[in-house]
């Protein structure tokens, strides 16, 4: 039995956690999220290279949230998701124990949010090579080409909102797309409606996105939709030097009024 299973079993036994959110074997060699509530389920948890999903999105789901305290098996994205959620007051210190598995395969148990920050301080987040490649390709395009690229990609969006459901930061009980008084974003899945939805989504995640790529991963029609918030995150890092989901403080980059902010990005 691996370290993960032992720790999960202990946490459930001592009652330190009511549920351990982690990964389990799925069908056809895939992994799926798993929720261990007892010893037996704890034994079935796994962790290996395939476990890239950001599980942070489960901590506020209405089926899980009442079970706090929670424990969660975490990769870097999950840690960042949790820190970001904490900086937006969706998690309190002590709500959650993270079982972070580092590069060496060691499990680091963090009970306080500050311990997660310490883990993250060692890490320089990087974009996946295949994403970087596509971003570079898009950067090299003329604005018109880029526009055409996105229009043609978004054409196939079926407005299933899987991208939203997968995102650790789309926790609103009322999403902007559900507001119908007035209906800012049309319900229909058509070119302009899709565009409005995706621009809104990108704007709502700018400065918040933790670059996990889950949204793109979840898309049933394979739109690389994660590149929009990820590109914005890069821009913010270049302009302001801040990276979302690394520290609880200092992360409201785009939502802090400063009288001395220069408006040099205009014109």
């Amino acid at each position: 039995m691996g370290a993960i299973n032992e720790i999960a079993a202990r946490l459930l036994e001592t009652g330190e956690a009511k549920v351990v959110i982690g990964y389990g074997e799925g069908s056809f060699g895939s992994v799926r999220p798993a929720f261990a509530r007892n010893q037996e389920e704890a034994e079935k948890l796994i962790y290996d290279k395939r476990c890239t999903q950001n599980l942070a999105m489960y901590v506020y789901k209405k089926e899980i949230s009442p079970l706090r305290k929670l424990a969660i098996v975490a990769n870097v994205s999950t840690l960042r998701g949790i820190i970001r959620l904490a900086s937006e007051n969706q998690i309190k210190n002590g709500d959650i124990i993270t079982l972070y598995i580092n590069e060496l395969g060691e499990v680091i148990e963090c009970k306080a949010l500050s311990e997660i920050e310490i883990c993250l301080a060692e890490i320089t987040p990087e974009i996946k090579p295949e994403d970087k490649e596509l971003i570079d390709k898009l950067d090299a395009m003329t604005p018109q080409e880029r526009w055409n690229f996105w229009i043609s990609e978004m054409e196939s969006c079926i407005k299933c909102y899987a991208c939203r459901q997968a995102c650790p930061l789309c926790y609103c009980t009322q999403c902007a797309v559900e507001v119908n008084q007035p209906q800012w974003i049309p319900v229909a899945a058509n070119t302009s409606g899709n565009l409005e939805w995706h621009i809104t989504r990108a704007m709502h995640l700018s400065g918040r996105c933790v670059e996990c790529g889950q949204c793109g991963e979840a898309c049933p029609v394979n739109i690389p939709i994660h590149l929009l918030p990820i590109k914005l995150a890069e821009e913010i890092k270049n302009i302001y030097g801040t990276v979302s989901g690394m520290k609880i403080q200092e992360s409201n980059t785009l939502s802090t009024f400063k009288p001395d902010d220069k408006e040099n990005f205009i014109g």
């Binding site: 926790y171 009322q174 902007a176 507001v179 008084q181 800012w184 709502h204 009288p259 001395d260």
Partner: protein, 666 residues
């Protein structure tokens, strides 16, 4: 069902000259929900307003649209008229068919159509209006005056004499500003100190005035009637309560060679110093940047000498929290120094000086006791060239405006020089003589006709030093550009008046607007010259634009009158155009997720958090809460909130959306 009344104003001929008002009214009558529509020559006039009132009563209107001028002027007029007829004033909206239409387009069908379109959007908006109640806020009857020049002094005294508390904040160790440096003042040539010093003393002794010197504004929040201001009182290193102002310490300070700011570098001062003998307060401060103890850790001579033990090297900056109902900005101006002018030697010629330096030379209390001697060798100059418009009215130098005071003080300087050096010759290079003002033209004429100042119309192209003389080369444009060369002993530059150092950051702290030259902007150039665009903050003196003393004092008294008017109310009513976080029945309570990001984005610190509790007092949910007293209705949070949980009263998403839709569905 909506019952909307539409009223199209001709604004004399301002609108009707290009817009067919009758046609707009006719078209409006056909809009769904519109039950009454008319046009009239002057809607804002008494009969115009009566038309609105009658229509409200007769047709039982649920909303009113007045298509006329900008709402800035007459929205209150029409809203009041509606209220008098029993309709909630916030059910009245204005369409601007003057500035946005008739004034910017030519007569024609398209212009009339646009006037109708603008009207139509407002009809759609007003259908979604709902009654609002104005907000009442208490008024704190203390005023803060920032800057203790003559303007700040006058404003403080006027407000204090009106029976209100005043907190006067001055950045320097003494109040007095530029006027305390002047020798004699145009147009009467009375001694500047003699008329100013008594007022400075009055400030110090006034029971209603609290004076903080060496102090600046650290931060401000709040709004008219209720400002919260933090004042940073810099460490003076001298305990004011213990110091008696005997001045013993200043006599023995070993650091004696610091150029005196007050004397414009024409004399030196010590590190512990009183800026000038008439300073208020008349107690020394230590200039830490130059004090030997602060530089080397050794000295403390002053501490040993001080009979009352007032010297306190450990003193720290103090942050003082004050609450005030009004703020008067009186931070004055500065002048460009001679080093701004490459053509006049970049400040490297000692005998090329600025106007303030001349004031010090001419001043009886100045470094030469009022004798005109040139700085390089102390000789009495026989020929002095005065150059007006040095930097001013020169777009190439980035100062296209007129500094206004220079024509007059240059004439004064020429006169003072002649009065003191009878055999000397003053030359004045000028562009135009701008002497508009009571007794001003007479004054400049006197300089020319009685005191023999030689006025040459033209610019000076350059100055260079030769054999102990300053060769001034220019052209006389009245003689067809004839070259002029004068071998002067001294040159006085009437350098451009510019906004004071730090005015931009102060404006940002106080949320007041400023012009491209960083002078503070008035709310209206003609009708609101002493008000800023931020309610409750007023302007006095040269911080708004270059001004002479009479103008600065007049503006100061104007600002004081505004403050006293404000303080005559115990309560203020504010427009209820404020943001609100939505609330709904349990279990949701509000769609606000409590991310608190709006809290940091609000420029007015109007947002706080609020706990929703159950019967047992347990917190169920924490959401954002907007303080209607602080909210300025800017809408930043509305646009930001990702869950769209905030809306702006009077400009709700729904209202704006319907307006836009009306335009699109043309």
């Amino acid at each position: 069902m909506a019952r909307i009344g539409v009223f199209i104003c001709h604004c004399g001929e301002n609108i009707s000259a290009t817009v067919d008002c009758a046609k707009v009214s006719e078209l409006a009558a056909g809009l769904p929900g519109v039950v009454y529509s008319t046009d009239y020559k002057y809607m804002c006039s008494d009969p115009g307003q009566s038309k609105i009132k009658e229509a409200i009563r007769e047709h039982n209107l649920t909303g009113v649209v007045v298509s006329a001028c900008s709402p800035r002027m007459h929205e209150p007029t029409f809203r009041k008229a509606c209220a008098e007829a029993g309709l909630n004033p916030y059910l009245c909206e204005m369409a601007n068919i003057r500035e946005h239409c008739s004034w910017v387009h030519e007569k024609g069908d398209a212009t009339t159509q646009k006037a109708f379109d603008l009207t139509r959007t407002l009809v759609e908006k007003v259908k979604n209006n709902h009654p609002l109640e104005s907000i009442k806020v208490p008024v704190n009857k203390t005023a803060i005056v920032i800057g203790g020049g003559v303007a700040g002094i006058q404003a403080s005294l006027d407000i204090a004499n009106g029976g209100h508390q005043v907190i006067l904040v001055e950045k320097q160790p003494s109040i007095g500003g530029h006027m305390s440096q002047l020798s004699e003042t145009f147009p009467t040539l009375d001694c500047s100190q003699c008329i100013l010093t008594p007022r400075m003393v009055e400030v110090a002794q006034h029971p209603n005035i609290t004076l903080y010197t060496c102090s600046e504004i650290e931060s401000m929040d709040g709004f008219i009637g209720n400002f919260n201001v933090k004042i940073r009182k810099k460490a003076k290193s001298v305990n004011e309560k213990l110091c008696t102002g005997c001045g013993l310490c200043t006599t023995k300070c070993p650091t004696k060679n610091i150029p005196s700011e007050f004397e414009q570098g024409l004399a030196n001062r010590t590190a512990i110093y009183v800026p000038f003998p008439q300073a208020v307060p008349n107690k020394p401060v230590i200039d830490r940047a130059n004090c030997r103890y602060f530089l080397t850790g050794k000295c403390k001579v002053c501490q040993k000498l001080c009979p009352t033990g007032a010297i306190d090297f450990e003193q720290e900056d103090e942050i003082i929290d004050v609450k005030a109902g009004a703020i008067v900005l009186a931070t004055g101006f500065e002048i460009k120094n001679t080093d701004f002018f490459p053509e006049y030697g970049y400040g490297k010629y000692k005998d090329v000086i600025n106007g303030l330096q001349f004031e010090r030379l001419a001043s009886a209390s100045g470094p030469t006791q009022g004798a005109i001697r040139r700085p390089s060798d102390g000789k009495t100059p026989e020929k002095v060239v005065f150059i007006a418009c040095a930097g001013s009215r020169d777009p190439a130098k980035g100062i296209p405006y007129c500094s206004k005071i220079c024509c007059m003080y240059t004439a004064k300087h020429a006169m003072l020089y002649k009065h003191k050096v009878h055999e000397g010759t003053p030359y004045v290079f000028y562009m135009d003589i701008r002497a508009a003002g009571k007794n001003y033209d007479e004054f400049t004429r006197r300089a020319i006709e009685e005191d023999g100042a030689k006025y040459i119309r033209g610019r000076v192209s350059n100055i260079y030093e030769k054999d102990g003389k300053l060769i001034v080369r220019g052209a006389d444009t009245l003689l067809g550009g004839k070259p002029v060369e004068i071998d002067a002993d001294m040159v006085v530059l009437a350098t451009a008046a510019v906004s004071c150092d730090g005015s931009e950051s102060l404006a940002q702290k106080l949320h007041v607007s400023y012009d491209p030259y960083k002078f503070f902007a008035e709310a209206h150039p003609k009708l609101k010259p002493v008000e800023t665009n931020t309610a409750g903050i007023y302007l006095a003196g040269a911080c708004q634009a270059p001004k002479d003393i009479p103008e600065s004092v007049a503006a100061a008294s104007g600002a004081a009158a505004k403050v006293i008017c404000l303080f005559s109310n115990d309560e203020l009513t504010r427009e209820p155009i404020v943001a609100k976080v939505n609330r709904m029945p349990p279990p949701i309570f509000s769609t606000c997720m409590g991310c608190e990001m709006c809290i940091s984005i609000c420029p007015y610190q109007a947002i706080d958090k609020e706990n929703i509790t159950n019967r047992n007092g347990e917190v169920i949910k924490t959401i954002a809460k907007i303080n209607p007293g602080l909210c300025q209705g800017c809408g930043t949070c509305v646009a930001f909130c990702k869950s769209k949980s905030i809306d702006l009263e009077g400009y709700s998403n729904k209202q704006v959306y319907e307006e836009v839709l009306a335009l699109l569905n043309n």
